[in-house]
Symmetry: C2
Subunit: 156 residues, 2 copies
């Protein structure tokens, strides 16, 4: 992996020397839109892995949950985030923790990309997607229902 | 710990809600200058820990080595970094990996604070400080000797 190099310079635009740009997930594996992934640190000498995700304007990560925890630092842009039944606006350098088995999703603002770092354990379980029943339960909270329909907080 | 809160907002100036500001190390435990530490993420659900360090203009971290690995993302400011026998200028969003048992130090520019994230394993060994012999060996590389005397790269 590229992590063998001690110095990897930022090339601008949140791309790095010797860091590959990946699709967020395999196409069709889960609903998501306009998002890329770069693993900044992830090798056998570290228990954690640090990834950089970028969501294009209007894009979103998949709505999912898992046992492993996400530790997120917003780097640029604005957007919103669902964690359990809470919807929050997010802005640069805000911190977001996703506890175990908690439904979550990140959405970029309609007019601005959202870039963030996410620390996870290198060994982790696979994400679970919501069943129709899970979605129904989530949508019983009006703010969550509005978020999942992509309606900005202002018009809730 | 504060990590129980899912959202912790950035208050500006690289200070966060519910994140304590700490001295870098216990005073007198190692040579260092003008540096603070904030643990952004570090709880029993995560194998990794993510800390934010800020070095005031002209300050520096201690010269040390250890078995555990540092995974660093520069957030703001400029400065220099020693990793083994390499000295590099660092700027926002550059990535620095400190391999096991490798001497390293971060220095802020004389006129600018340097802020960076550092991911480590939550369980890790204690840093070792250089002996007089280690220092002598390090200083046999001219660029390293200049770095350790705080001489800017331009005048090497």
């Amino acid at each position: 992996m590229s992590q063998n190099k001690s110095f990897r310079g930022h090339k601008g635009g949140f791309r790095w020397a010797d860091v590959e740009l990946h699709a967020y997930k395999k196409e069709g594996s889960a609903p998501f839109k306009d998002i890329t992934r770069q693993t900044l640190f992830g090798d056998e000498n570290l228990s954690g892995e640090l990834r950089y995700f970028e969501i294009a304007p209007g894009g979103y990560s998949s709505l999912e949950r898992h046992e492993h925890v996400h530790a997120v630092v917003i780097l640029h842009g604005t957007g919103r985030c669902l964690v359990g039944e809470e919807v929050r606006d997010i802005a640069p350098f805000d911190l977001v923790s996703i506890p175990p088995m908690t439904w979550h999703q990140f959405q970029a603002a309609p007019d601005k990309a959202l870039g963030f770092l996410c620390m996870v354990d290198r060994e982790r379980d696979r994400p679970q997607l919501p069943s129709a029943e899970d979605l129904e339960r989530l949508c019983s909270t009006p703010a969550v229902a509005a978020f999942l329909r992509g309606i900005p907080a202002e018009s809730n």
